[in-house]
Symmetry: C2
Subunit: 272 residues, 2 copies
């Protein structure tokens, strides 16, 4: 029996591994090919045009690995580049914004929802848009948190500095009496404990990883793309720069077993 085509997953760095962990849990038979664009991480402060170029490029690399669908496991790329990827690629392209918005609308009782993310994600308004499509009366308040990704990449998950930055970033949201907070960046689930310390227990934290994995499962079933169930899938990881920090954080914080890592070249022949 031939090896089934993989689910292609990408992120600018390690954050997308939170989605990989959920996919492995929900779809153990599926092969996964993950690319972390560590040569150009982070995406969150860059412009739409640049994030689109990078996303299309990495999408092409996933297709070269026979990906049967592409999961954009990066909120910035989901917010900025999914429409363009869907125009270009014939395979299904799933982002994390729509599943996150859906989870938030399911979770909220008072229809007041906070969103945290990178500067680019928040500036795009993608979550507000996706939430209002589902719940037009929802009140959405967003806050850009540009230092959280560097703090997470340094492994400062439970640290006074991270707590202080979270207090500042969350103040404008907490003052709006939200009952639900969207972790609008795939890195942020690694700060689950710190964010709970900052919000207190009364606020539901929503991350898109679980809902994104559920959306992938539905799509595989609808389109008859699922791998045979009597097998155990494997995970391939490729990075555009073999950053040492990647492994450290991924294995310690996410408990993902990582074998050999490939290095892939990225080509940017587009004119800006």
């Amino acid at each position: 029996m031939p090896n089934p085509d993989p689910i292609g997953v990408f992120d600018s760095g390690i954050g997308g591994l939170t989605v990989v962990a959920e996919l492995q849990h929900l779809l153990p038979a599926e092969n996964i090919f993950y690319i972390g664009d560590t040569a150009r991480v982070p995406y969150g402060g860059k412009t739409r045009r640049t994030v689109e170029r990078y996303s299309v490029e990495i999408g092409g690399l996933l297709l070269a690995e026979q990906a049967k669908l592409i999961v954009v496991a990066c909120n910035t790329a989901s917010a900025l580049a999914v429409p363009r990827m869907r125009k270009i690629f014939k395979v299904p392209v799933l982002g994390v914004v729509a599943p996150g918005a859906e989870a938030a609308v399911m979770a909220t009782k008072n229809r007041r929802i906070g969103v945290i993310g990178t500067r680019a994600t928040v500036a795009s308004g993608a979550y507000e848009h996706a939430i209002r499509l589902l719940a037009p009366a929802a009140h959405v308040v967003s806050s850009a948190c540009p230092l959280l990704v560097p703090l997470i990449e340094e492994g400062l998950f439970d640290d006074p500095v991270t707590d202080e930055m979270l207090a500042r970033y969350l103040a404008p949201i907490l003052s709006e009496n939200v009952d639900t907070l969207v972790l609008g960046c795939t890195h942020y689930p690694l700060l689950h404990r710190a964010i709970t310390r900052a919000t207190g227990p009364g606020i539901a934290l929503v991350d898109s990883a679980k809902n994104c994995a559920a959306a992938v499962k539905s799509l595989l079933s609808e389109q008859n793309l699922a791998a045979p169930q009597d097998r155990l899938g494997h995970l391939n990881i490729a990075l555009t720069d073999p950053a040492e920090g990647f492994l450290r954080v991924a294995q310690n914080a996410l408990g993902i077993e990582i074998g050999e890592i490939m290095t892939l070249a990225v080509q940017s022949t587009d004119r800006v």
Copy 2:
């Protein structure tokens, strides 16, 4: 009279503008063409191979602008990529590490020198090597400060969070009784006040910008490359991603007058 060829200067982001400010001060007649590789910033956590590729690529873009010499105004690229650039390019290539090391050796009285920089710069050992070439008996102690660049790019120059991170990063250096501290990243002069708060007044802070500009002046004179002195040079700035934060920090913190900014495409056709 034709417009004189410019001095080419590059950095991964805004840090190199500290070198530009010194060049403008010391060499007012010279044209300067600056490229900030904002599409791929930061370099400091990436591998030698990737930093070499990026540096050679940006060097090529500067040569396409007729640069008569290339100033690598980025410590990470200076530490990792200058040897390869010198192999490839015929124009002179000046980094910031050698001038910084020279300034440190001039400044120290007890021959105990601290160095702070990005993870990649510190791991390269470039400053230790350059300092020991000049002062074989010097005691050099280094500390990687990966969060300082993100804090600076956010403009948190005088902030308790920056002070706390500096205290942690500097502790292993201050315990070694150094009398001189090399700011081994072109971003760090923007933290001059915060670093002085952390070290106290007894430690000389050395940044390579001034010495680098002096080295450029000597080289122009030796090689007969100086522009006619009866003119005022101009500054061109190009970015690989038109990041909004760039302008904000550059103008507020450095007081550099920035006119129109070009956007340049980067091409990476190398195989990794």
